[in-house]
Amino acid sequence: MIRKTRQHITQNEPLLFERSSPGKKGYQLPPLDVPEIDPAAVLGAGKTRSAIEDFPEVSEVEAIRHFTRLSTWNYAIDLGLYPLGSCTMKYNPRVNELVARTEGLAWAHPYQPESLAQGAMAIIAELERALAEITGMDAVTLQPSAGAHGELTGILLIRALLESRGNPRKRILIPDSAHGTNPATAAIAGYAVENIKSNDRGMTDVEALERVLDDDVAALMITNPNTVGVFEENITRITQLMHSKGALVYMDGANMNALVGISRPGEFGIDVMHLNLHKTFSTPHGGGGPGSGAVAVKKHLEPFLPSPRLQRADGQWTWNYDVPETIGRVRAFYGNFGVLVRALAYIMAHGGDGLRRATMDALLNANYIRKLIEPHYEIAYQAPSMHECVFSDDRQAKHGVRTGDIAKRLIDYGFHPYTVSFPLIVHGALMIEPTETEGKGELDLFADALISIAKEIEEKPEFVLKAPYLTRTGRVDEVTAARRPILRWRPSPPAKAAD
């Protein structure tokens, strides 16, 4: 029984280009206080355009309605539980949006004199300190723009260190449960990828690891807790093993929200790791980004960090561009500063105890969901869950219903689905991460929904296959989209009617 939703009227809205009509405008510029220059005159006629063809022309009210109407077609954390596994869709405190817009911060130019940027630099320093403390590492760079970017930075650091020792080596070992960015990153950093299979507890198979470990192995990229939500119990042994072969250990810290305040990777042998500040430290995901992929390292990797490095000199913060062994920049300027502000605000709001408490609540919520659902869905691994729990659709698949179908039906029940079909080692995975910001009420409704769907699948599987029913858009045909890609609007066919 669907208890959480009802259907309501929503506005249709055409594309901007269909809404557009010549001469409409939604802007006004101040009068120009200098003589107007004719672009063609100073740039050369051939170098200027007369108009941006088919660019939209709408009034201010049309613009706000356009985007407001569009927005009502979205689901979001502000509307309810968003249990996308591995994505850590926790509540995003609104004060963070406010502080990121603080005049002196938002309008700080990256090249303004350091004497006039001390506030921004102090924020960066403070966040570096807090993240080092949380991870138990020695130094932090905030330059990377997202998790994958942090991975690349980290692997380049490893490469630089190994190169400085004489041999960058050739291979990187990656458990088969890893997120796709891990192998993709290793490849960009010029390494061959070797997959390590997981054992039947969902953990890295230490024997398998030992078997392939040789002097050509540069590093292991391990996610801990890993993507099945399980803490790698042998992590200390693994890191020792790697180190004993002169290899390093990279930790994908995307799941650090399961460890903050409880366990420090720096204390179990990790050499370098990234943090997804937008996940663990709650930057709004904004329909896909931005994020920040801070990288934390042990002392031996510090000399190689991207330049410039923030340092204190003569009682002032200053950017040091003289980093002889640096891997170089991974992006212009200093990082996604606005995201850093939000992350620091989040850390300040929680404090040390609050962060630990948030971690425990995340564990509690994941385990609570697991407990309620386990009678109805097949848990992927018996090992204890940390911040997320992963099921397989084995039981439901017998009725012809797959994880993707269950996900669509969950929409009717008023929830954003879990992560579908990841990690790859779980057949038909349902990867559920409730995060710590959910209350019991929402979790109970979610479990009820999944249980109810399990019943529906037994009773009328074909019904579930056609879900969702309650959305303004029915099941979307992704196959056709990929077969003949239409990636932009074109004016050719006579303008369509409003839809």
Binding site: I52, A76, P110, G289, Y334, I347, G474, V476, L487
Partner: protein
Amino acid sequence: MLDTLGIARLEDLFAHLPPEVLSSRPLAIDPGKSEYEIVDYFRARGDENANGYASFLGAGAYAHYRPVLVDTVVSRGEFLTSYTPYQAEIAQGTLTSIFEFQTMICQLTGMDAANASMYDGSSAAPEAAMMAARITGRHRALISRTAHPEYREVLTTYARHQGMKVEEFGYDQDAGSIDMADLEKKLDDRTAAVIVQSPNFFGIVEDVEQAAELAHRRGALLVVMFTEAVALGVLEPPRGADIVAGELQSFAHPPSYGGPYAGILATRDKFIRQLPGRLVGETKDSRGNRAFCLTLSTREQHIRREKATSNICTNQALIALMATVFMTVYGKEGLRELAVQNLSKAHYLAGQAPLRFSGPFFNEFVVSTNGRTPDEINEVLLRKKIIGGLPLARYYPELKNAMLVCCTEMNRREHMDQVAGAFR
């Protein structure tokens, strides 16, 4: 909930962790603070930065007026607190706006397809180079010294371990634009990409078509970059380019001490399967209505893993949405008028300054500081609460008596006159 789980304390939830991995001590982080204190802290930090200064800095980060509608739209929880639109049925808002974004980027750049965003302009550059390498099967990139120095550094960092050689070609010391002869000389049959920026780091509009011709003659692709998106309002789109890689910060994001910004990659139809990043495509739903969804995901890391076109996952969607709103508010006429204002302001100030280069420029230009150092001039200006131009010595040793000055629609004539005074 603890009862349901049959445990007594929250700590039991991680009792299974090996003891040696548990933290040796509690976090040395101050107790949690109230909203009020947090707002106060960041205000205090903001007040330690420049406040109330007029600024003439550009160089990849521009101060443009942000229409109020931008924050109105992106503050809506439905956009702000959703993620990558994996579930199309409840993400049509995001998907539709990205489709519009892709279209507008194509309209601006003259390309056929654009992705949903890259991290920023600087990381779009190496992604473009890698894309060119995949397309051509070659492994050499030539980049102009007139491209943003930090972008060039990023390219070098990325390329180093992919067997991609990056070489630079020079600029004409008078014009401040590409030295075409040098480019031609350095081009060879192993060159995957020629990378230029226009307007370039000096603000000068490059001859993109000539660069395209040279590149194509040797079977290389032309990558055109831009840092100042407002220029697209008046500039002829780089039709000769194969890939356009740019930075959209100018479209509604404040300089924000360097990030988050949003990069774009756009290309021709034939190359779309080599584009990195998310793409939204048009399709239909089960009831026959038009709908949008993520598409061509077999290019991406979550499917293709080490063979993906890129490792990018999280992108800069919200900043791209800001840009989408910005482009919508200004629209066809407004973007042009905005560009003309920028052009006019820059030319007004430049007309009173000793220019280092003679090439045609948009809203940035290099000023010779003649007898004095750039720092000396900037000191004088700082006393008037004006932040002057960017001294170029760090990036171009040969330009140590030069500074890069930028004017946007936000600079007022009175301040420009003061700056002009300081140049005299």
